[in-house]
Symmetry: C2
Subunit: 136 residues, 2 copies
């Protein structure tokens, strides 16, 4: 009965800026796009869906005759990505080179560190190297 | 350089209600809890972090001398879980038995269907059976 996370969602009112950021800078693979409503990205272990809340919270949508429930938030969400430990400096350097401000950097334990930055909408992104969630 | 999603975040101002819902009804494993700030759950393929935005967007927090950036949203987020196809009726029945309203149900394709419901904060949850994102 275990649940997997299939879709992680964040929101922005400017999907064009989001597309440049998530496609070109972060290198995620865009699977689907509706210029007024959403960008659907594939990550290594799931989907990242970016929605325009002005649309998803207001415009009734149906799929095959059934309604898609309304949703949409305002304010910055947090979203963390993980990478292989040996890619940490490469990722950090790439973002700095592209004039992305590194808002904070945390050494969580001897072998786990992460840095924080913002997407164009102000969402708080984090890239974690190492095994942050040491569970089995 | 591929990014994995490590932490999916949603928000609620009532963590007690959220804990009952996500621990007792959905059966997620609670790894960490701060009664004023967060619930950290383990899913099969990543972490679901539930934050109180009144805290995370307002109270400055540090870890090992570095600031944790502020974040927090208002409004319902969407979050989709996936399950094995043969568990669909079992999950749907369990939620109905617990007086959870099934807001919509969508047949996406011959082999993929999902149903929608709300958590106590109004976040729009979906449980998907089958391979919604047919990529490799």
């Amino acid at each position: 009965m275990g649940l997997k996370i299939a879709e992680t969602c964040i929101y922005t009112t400017d999907l064009d800026k989001a597309e440049k950021f998530y496609s070109d800078l972060l290198g995620l693979r865009l699977l689907k796009k509706d210029k007024d409503r959403h960008l659907f990205y594939k990550c290594a272990n799931g989907m990242l869906l970016i929605f325009n809340p002005n649309h998803t919270n207001n415009v009734k949508t149906e799929v095959n005759g059934s309604p898609v429930p309304l949703h949409g938030t305002n304010g910055p969400v947090h979203l963390a990505f993980s990478i292989e430990a040996d890619k940490y400096q490469e990722w950090k350097g790439k973002l700095i080179k592209n004039s992305i401000n590194i808002e904070s950097e945390i050494l969580w334990s001897e072998n786990v560190r992460s840095f924080y930055f913002r997407d164009p909408a102000g969402n708080s992104l984090e890239i974690i190297a190492g095994n942050m969630w040491n569970y089995t």
